[in-house]
């Protein structure tokens, strides 16, 4: 069975600094997708970034980028130029590529951006 581990329950970063959130996963699949979702205090789950396992190039979305290490089964999220609005819970999610469309979520990392 697939598992997703986020080993950092809480992190903090100064505004404008860079922070990296860790995520590791366990799977025997070769084709899969990885996601980072953000959940601010409003509770809304917002997609931050998505990565297909067959792509070697790391995904980027503005200030958000990932470091995808397939062999190490690692999928970390880097937030550059952190902003107060980045304060949220961040969830890493795994989805098999074989058509089940089910996410397996990590337990989340609570990130606080300090002014």
């Amino acid at each position: 069975a697939q598992t997703v581990t986020q080993s950092q329950p809480e992190m903090s970063v100064q505004e404008a600094e860079t922070v990296t959130l860790s995520c590791t996963y366990d799977t025997s699949e070769n084709n899969y997708y990885l996601f980072w979702y953000k959940q601010p205090p409003s509770r809304q789950m917002i997609l931050v970034i998505r990565q297909e396992a067959y792509k070697q190039q790391n995904a980027t979305e503005n200030r958000f980028s990932v470091n995808f290490q397939k062999a190490a089964k690692s999928f970390s999220l880097k937030i550059s130029d952190s902003q107060l609005g980045d304060t949220a819970m961040y969830f890493c999610a795994f989805m098999r590529g074989s058509g089940t469309y089910k996410y397996i979520f990590g337990t989340g990392t609570r990130l606080k951006v300090l002014a």
Binding site: Y33, R43, M45, L47, T100, Y101, Y103
Partner: protein, 114 residues
């Protein structure tokens, strides 16, 4: 701006009462998911549908929970009878199997069972 909608946003009820939560997926999406979020268990998948057919409800307590999609624009999650341990935030998400496989979440229903 297409988005998933959920009603009600908040629900407080007494133990034993029936609770119905509704979700309107993004128009054109063919998969719908129900999740429950609690501090202890995190995000748990309760059930999901593809093309309105239930594909997996293994995460749902069968004796009291039921999920349906009466039509492509409405998904429902019902709890009868409700119990205090059902207190949680319930999220609906929708997606498109022929698209990017990304799930788009609704704002959630915060349920409190007294």
């Amino acid at each position: 701006d297409a988005r998933v909608t959920q009603t009600p946003r908040h629900k407080v009820t007494e133990m034993g009462q029936e609770v119905t939560m509704r979700c309107q997926p993004i128009l054109g999406h063919n998969t719908v998911f129900w999740y429950r979020q609690t501090m202890m268990q995190g995000l748990e998948l309760l059930a999901y549908f593809r093309n309105r057919a239930p594909l997996d409800d293994s995460g749902m307590p069968k004796d009291r929970f039921s999920a349906e999609m009466p039509d492509a624009t409405l998904a429902t999650l019902k709890i009868q009878p409700s119990e205090p341990r059902d207190s949680a935030v319930y999220f609906c998400a929708s997606g498109l199997t022929t698209g990017t496989d990304t799930q788009y979440f609704g704002p959630g229903t915060r349920l409190t069972v007294l």
